[in-house]
Amino acid sequence: MSRLTSVACLLALAALVLLGGCGEPQFSDAEKKTIASLALNTLPSLKPDTTNQYADVPAAAALGSTLFFDAGMSRDGTVSCSTCHKIDRQFQDDLPQAVGIGHTNRRTMPLAGVARNPWFFWDGRRDSLWAQALTPLENPLEQAGNRAAFAHYIKKRFGERYERIFGRLPDLSTVPANASPLGSDAEKAVWNAMPASQQDDVNRVYANIGKAIAAFERSIEPEQTRFDRFAIDLATGARPEGNAAFSPEEILGLKLFIGKANCVTCHNGPRFTDNAFHNTGVPPVDGLPPDRGRVDAVAQVEADPFNCLGKFRDGDESACRELRFMVKDGPQIMRAYKTPSLRAAADRAPYMHAGQFATLDEVVAHYSKAPPSVEGVSEVHPLDLSDRERAALVAFLKTLSD
């Protein structure tokens, strides 16, 4: 009998060892490769931006930082970039749609790693960080200013700093106080009455404002998370210690993310984004103006005088391949929006381009159900994830925040 007991004990011990083994992260080589490709240590160093010769000039970044936080950079002195891009909130505002001078129709995007984007805004209606920075300045719902007023303001408040970076300011003495090709009817009329050389002078100062702000924003980069520590340990064969160790639920979530749930198809690379535009059937928001995503952005970026092919670009045209080879038509760009990075996403609800979903659970439920798009065709297909699987995906996404 005692022999029987000892054999049973041995068997039980073997079973425990086996089960214990199952509790360890067990990934196939293909899974390990994918996980390694998502880790922050594979993020290459930031490439120079040849379209902005001031991109890595410290004085330009310093001026850009001043301008970023300066509410004087708005029509009524109440709104700055930092009103919506809040420094203590991942440079976003936790609102479903941004509120500047007015109520916009889009969710504020966070800024970590923003300088790595080929396209800006949810719909990619700008093609460089400096051209992006100029857009809210004149949007009547955001900072609601006009470029002539900004040029005067720069001269008055920051003239010396500006000239140390960009060279002499143009003569603005005969430039009207308020004028812009994108402003009110009155501002447009004043702009159109200005000689072309004067319009050029103002546009040049305006472009340099964008270049300074972009130089500042280049310093905002994603931070290492629990996931990255876990991924590095997995890649090196080290046993994850402390909070780098994943719970069984987080491991299941990671496996689903890179496997059955297909999240990694678009949310790939160390920033968890393919930098492309997709229709994923996210519903429109009642009460907001019609929003067709990338379809309308294509014409806007082509018409932007500050785009890469325009005369305010520094360097040569070889930097403009994204614009040159962009997809301009076809059904796939209808209601297509940019894949957002998922880094630190768990700490910045609500989600999607107009804050449609209040929680990550709602986001994951949307992708599991994959409803058809109201316009255009959704690229995602139903996953029919179980409650446990959806919760595991959310648990994994939270590891990109801690």
Partner: protein, 147 residues
């Protein structure tokens, strides 16, 4: 009585061993690479040309705009000059097109055409369709790229 238990235990042990061996074989077996034809050189659909398609710098980098070379020869092996080339494509399994609009931007001589603006934003099966018009006539060819 004890002998029956011994047989059961032995049976269990053998079964466990078998499961272990099967698992090891399954995990280490190379997965056969089936899927679309990945050849980088082939005859065009109607046999007018022989086309080859290679990344200009030799390697495919996911998420980066890259230039590729499309080399066109006649069936007899002569380089095809002055061809008009259209490019389209997408991911058959995802039901979407290319994320960029690649174009034939330069003729490099000896039947070689630079196809610039190619970008593969995700892993999986991509297709590139080329429409080719030259003195010999019009033809088309499809290349599969699997990342």
């Amino acid at each position: 009585m004890a002998s029956i238990w011994r047989y059961i235990l032995a049976g269990l042990g053998l079964a466990a061993l078998l499961v272990g061996i099967v698992a090891v074989v399954y995990l280490t077996l190379p997965h056969s690479a089936s899927g679309p034809d990945r050849s980088r050189s082939k005859k065009t659909a109607n046999g007018l040309f022989v086309a080859s398609f290679e990344p200009e710098r030799g390697v495919i980098r996911q998420g980066e705009l890259q230039s590729w070379l499309l080399t066109l020869k006649t069936a007899a092996g002569a380089p095809v000059e002055g061809a008009a080339i259209t490019v389209s494509g997408g991911m058959p399994q995802h039901n979407h097109g290319l994320p960029t609009s690649p174009q034939a931007t330069d003729y490099l001589g000896e039947g070689r055409y630079r196809i610039d603006g190619v970008k593969f934003t995700m892993s999986g099966w991509w297709q590139l369709h080329f429409g080719i018009s030259a003195a010999a006539g019009s033809d088309s060819v499809v290349f599969n790229v699997v990342l």
